[in-house]
């Protein structure tokens, strides 16, 4: 028999246990009340978020048209695999790896990137997968929670043009860009050059959102609330360019195998008709998933295909600068249209500055037509003696040289037009003299301009002394139907007077009919005015220039062509401009043999040339 103390002990123990049970249930009840009553507001939204997923629908990127309304850039559907890290289970990596053919490490790495972007939002895991992979993913979606799929657009270029430097390529945005701009999601692409970059905000469009009910495996069940909260994506704005696709296409063909840049523009509006930089890259190769090998090749090419020479190459303009010099000389009262300078094959000032020939007495018009260096050495000497270098620079700048033109594609360079402070910086105060300036008279020495800048300057001469704003894009059509137009306002350059200008224009017309441009640029039915130039290159073959506009009396097109290391401008650059004029005015090539000649011309091997260092000796034609 149990004694009394033992009995008491067991009874006490049971009471203790009852108290423990009581306390336990009070604690549990308290916790339930805490969760369901007090923290209801915390958990209710979580449960809604859990079961309702916000999904983003990528908008279609805006299209690009040429001036005749021909489509040049559009989108093509591609298949994308997405991942929502919070729902993703690492155990699905082997299956995913098997389906996509990517290594588990690769998937792991992409998962980490996706997590850094967001745990809860879906981001792209693989883009541009084949349809086969895409459908396999679709079949196995239920086995891989957190994995999703969508159809997106990738840039497509249906026209015959490459236009790589104009359109530019797209690359995926990085995490810091996403932080700065909430409009981007991981895997979104943004324009990284050309108009794709400049007009990124217009082309991109707005993300759409949809709310879908999902289960824990990330599988969609249906549209939440019958799709009442969904917002459709807003298509990107379409862009209408001033480009002429036929002209651009021809220009690209003509520039193949050469190093240089070319700009053709409407001298009255500034609209760019064609712009080529050679060598270029294949924009289709950079449109979708980028081939690493190709990307490396493009980046490491010593001819730098990614570099847009039409707006960034700075070369001394050579004799193409002479028409501008003539106008400046008149305005600075150095010359009158009747002033003659005697050319005996050069100009002596401390040393001999050579001319190409013994031209004899030359007035302004003749000096342009014959490209007489002596005339301009003489003129520049007078400007320098008067201490007029800074006035000269301001006037040269008015033509659009020496500063960015403000064209709507990025990475334009300023070019170099020196003033006294430039020389003070470059040579030191009082360490430079008239001898350093005389070369400038023939567009040589410490100056440089891009083909675009020369095209703008040519337009000024062509259109009667107006500065125009060069632009690729002429109007933007928004998805809502509204449009905005680029201002084509032009600004009168006050000091350019019609009288002197017509003499210069006559000189340029003469250069094409009788001067160095007569072989290739002189068209039968259209009056072309132009000027060749050969910029001295201390590192190799000279650079060939040609600027031209036509028709002479009512200009519709202004062209500047630079062929680096192409030799004489009259034989390297002028034929290209001549053919472009034919295409532009006739719609066909009437001298096909010139095409053969241009294309056959062996390319000059060249490293990207820096601004030519100021040189003493000059040859111009």
């Amino acid at each position: 028999m149990r004694n009394k103390s033992s009995k008491i002990r067991s009874t006490v123990s049971i009471r203790v246990l009852q108290v423990v049970v009581g306390i336990t249930f009070i604690v549990l009840l308290g916790r339930v009340i805490q969760l369901q009553l007090i923290e209801y507001d915390t958990y209710s939204p979580i449960s809604q978020r859990n079961s309702i997923r916000q999904e983003f629908i990528s908008p279609a990127r805006g299209l690009v048209y040429d001036r005749h309304g021909q489509l040049i850039v559009d989108n093509q559907p591609t298949f994308t695999i997405t991942i929502t890290p919070i729902n993703f289970n690492r155990e699905s990596i082997p299956l995913l790896s098997e389906i996509t053919g990517n290594t588990p490490e690769e998937i792991e790495e992409r998962l980490l990137t996706a997590r850094r972007y967001s745990w809860h939002r879906s981001s792209r895991l693989f883009t541009e997968v084949s349809f086969e992979v895409f459908s396999k993913i679709q079949e196995n979606l239920w086995r891989m929670p957190g994995i999703g799929h969508q159809i997106e657009g990738v840039r497509n270029y249906p026209a015959t043009v490459n236009g790589s430097h104009i359109f530019g390529y797209l690359r995926e945005v990085n995490l810091s860009e996403i932080e700065r701009n909430p409009a981007y999601r991981l895997g979104d692409k943004a324009g990284r050059s050309g108009i794709e970059q400049t007009y990124e905000d217009f082309l991109r469009g707005e993300l759409g959102t949809q709310y879908v009910t999902v289960n824990a495996f990330g599988q969609e069940i249906n549209q939440f609330d019958s799709g009442r909260h969904n917002e459709p994506p807003l298509k990107g704005s379409d862009i209408h360019t001033a480009l002429d696709i036929e002209l651009q296409s021809l220009a690209e063909n003509l520039m193949k195998g050469k190093v240089g840049g070319l700009v053709a523009m409407d001298p009255n509006t500034g609209g760019i008709l064609a712009m080529v930089s050679s060598p270029d890259f294949d924009i289709n190769m950079l449109a979708g998933r980028i081939d690493a090998e190709y990307w490396r090749q493009v980046n490491s090419d010593s001819l730098t295909p990614l570099f847009n020479r039409a707006i960034t190459s700075i070369q001394p303009p050579g004799s193409t600068f002479k028409p501008m010099m003539g106008l400046i000389g008149i305005e600075m009262n150095i010359i009158t249209p009747q002033t003659t300078v005697f050319c005996s094959g050069g100009y002596y000032r401390g040393r001999l500055y050579r001319c190409t020939a013994e031209h004899g007495n030359q007035n302004l018009e003749q000096s342009i037509k014959n490209s007489c260096n002596t005339y301009y050495f003489w003129m520049m000497n007078h400007i320098a003696q008067r201490g007029g270098i800074n006035v000269w620079k301001d006037m040269v700048d008015d033509f659009g040289l020496g500063d960015r033109t403000g064209i709507d594609i990025p990475n334009e360079t300023r070019g170099i037009i020196p003033d006294s402070s430039y020389f003070n910086r470059a040579f030191g105060v009082n360490r430079w003299g008239i001898g350093d300036l005389i070369n400038l008279g023939v567009g040589q020495g410490a100056m440089g301009a891009s083909p675009l800048q020369m095209a703008v300057a040519t337009s000024v001469i062509a259109n009667g002394g107006y500065r125009v704003q060069p632009h690729i894009v002429s109007s933007i059509s928004h998805a809502d139907g509204s449009s905005e137009f680029k201002s084509t306002a032009k600004e009168r350059i006050e000091w350019i007077k019609p009288g002197p200008l017509s003499i210069v224009q006559r000189g340029m017309r003469g250069a094409v009919t009788d001067g160095s441009g007569r072989f290739y640029a002189n068209l039968r039915d259209v009056e072309v005015a132009g000027k060749t130039g050969t910029a001295q290159n201390p590192h190799g073959e000279n650079h060939g220039w040609f600027i031209a506009y036509a028709p002479y009396d009512d200009p519709k097109i202004a062209i500047a062509v630079l062929i680096e290391q192409g030799g004489f401008g009259s034989t390297s650059a002028a034929p290209i401009a001549g053919l472009l004029m034919e295409q532009f005015f006739y719609g066909e090539i009437r001298r096909p043999w010139i095409i053969d000649q241009v294309i056959r011309k062996p390319p000059a091997p060249s490293a990207p040339s820096a601004t030519t260092t100021p040189t003493i000796q000059v040859t111009t034609d």
């Binding site: 049971i14 369901q36 209801y40 449960s47 824990a216």
Partner: protein, 414 residues
């Protein structure tokens, strides 16, 4: 007194009510459109069958002589140990726990029946000793061993939850063996201190101080108290070192996830987060039968078994959860009340053991589901789906009801 008046109808009806609530929750957790074709779809009909079998078991157990339980206790214990041992070799692994023994096409969770057999055996052992022997240290050691052998067998089957149940039973059963209270406290203290240290070592230290103080007042032995205090400190330091230096990162992350589930919601903390979200989003009235998004869209893991309470919480709201808690409390209080009134120590001890098992299950299951402790998979008695656990629990309840029904007959046995 007529026979039916001696039957504990309150206990029976409470049991039936709880089981019915569980069945409804299982229906909701397994019959939704997203559960079509999954392996848990058959759970509802099976559980319905188990409840029917449970009723039959309860009836049969009422016709059994209470003495039988004493007589077969050791035999049952041995047999259950053997089954458990066999499970180690012949067992089937289900979700990481190798504690299922295939018998006649059924999968038996032997550890569930081992619980019943063990408390029967321990209760018999502790109460059949003569008084002068009962208080000895040897008795305590033997009883502890009887509880500890199952712990080892079950740990080999990697069923942490059930092993914990047995370990928690040790101090409770020892209270009856006549071991001094202080010693009992000493045996529980490492678990308490260790657990609190995982949360924060400050809590661990506080618990150590508190426990040694209580120990001093119970035993009045300064030297032993000091030793206890030292040991407690060592536990705190040991757990800290173990947590930061010994445990593998993924193991630590699981423990840390418990401390802060929001850290890695999809990983270790996912279950806790989803469970809390399910309960919390239920509010007062719940989202309605079959309307819980967490449940129906399968955000809840193990929703028909370990997380059944979340289904009830989400779809039935505070009304249902508090009803379940009250019913469970009522059942335990009633059984313990019967134990206190019972004359026979064997019956007392068995009922206490059974109630302890229910309580530990409730605490661990609800604690896991409501984010009060790390997630340990244990079924909620009578509510969770699972034949072995439901039937084992029902057998225990049946034995308790048998002791109540036959309480007048007991005097002649002792």
């Amino acid at each position: 007194m007529s026979w039916y008046r001696q039957i504990d109808w309150v206990t029976f009806l409470t049991w039936l009510f709880i089981s019915a609530i569980g069945l409804i929750a299982i229906y909701s957790a397994t019959q939704g459109p997203l559960h079509q074709g999954t392996h848990i779809q058959g759970n509802f009909t099976k559980q319905l069958l188990y409840i029917c079998i449970g009723i039959v078991i309860l009836i049969i157990l009422h016709f059994t002589a209470p003495r039988t339980f004493q007589q077969i206790s050791y035999l049952g214990y041995g047999f259950a140990l053997l089954l458990s041992f066999a499970t180690i070799f012949l067992g089937v692994e289900v979700s990481g726990e190798k504690n299922w023994l295939p018998v006649f096409g059924f999968r038996l969770q032997t550890s569930e029946f081992l619980k019943v057999a063990t408390i029967l055996a321990v209760a018999n052992y502790l109460t059949s000793r003569r008084e002068n022997q009962a208080g000895t240290f040897r008795t305590a050691i033997t009883a502890t061993l009887m509880l500890f052998i199952p712990v080892i067998l079950i740990l080999i089957q990697s069923d942490t939850g059930t092993a914990l149940v047995f370990m928690a039973l040790i101090p409770i059963m020892l209270l009856w063996s006549g071991v001094p209270y202080g010693l009992c406290l000493l045996m529980v203290s490492p678990v308490i201190i260790g657990y609190l240290t995982v949360i924060d070592y400050v809590w661990g230290l506080l618990a150590a101080v508190l426990i040694t103080t209580i120990f001093f007042f119970l035993e009045k032995r300064p030297l032993l108290t000091f030793g206890t205090f030292l040991a407690s400190i060592i536990i705190v330091i040991g757990v800290q070192v173990g947590l930061h230096d010994i445990l593998q990162p993924h193991q630590r992350s699981r423990i840390e996830a418990f401390a802060n589930p929001a850290l890695d919601p999809r990983g270790a903390g996912w279950n806790v987060m989803q469970a809390k979200t399910a309960i919390g989003s239920g509010g007062i009235y719940g989202k309605g039968f079959m309307q819980g998004t967490q449940t129906q869209l399968r955000f809840l893991p193990e929703q028909s078994t370990d997380f059944i309470f979340c289904v009830i919480g989400e779809e039935g709201g505070l009304i249902s959860t508090s009803l379940v808690l009250i019913l469970l409390a009522l059942l335990l209080m009633r059984l313990l009340g019967q134990a206190a009134a019972h004359k026979h120590p064997f019956a007392q001890l068995f009922i206490v053991g059974a109630c302890s098992i229910y309580l530990i299950h409730v605490v661990i299951n609800l604690g896991s589901a409501m984010g009060l402790m790390p997630v340990i998979g244990l079924p909620l008695p009578f509510l969770s789906y699972g034949g072995s656990s439901f039937l084992a629990n029902t057998i225990m309840l049946g034995i308790c009801m048998n002791f109540y029904y036959h309480q007048r007959d007991f005097s002649i046995y002792s």
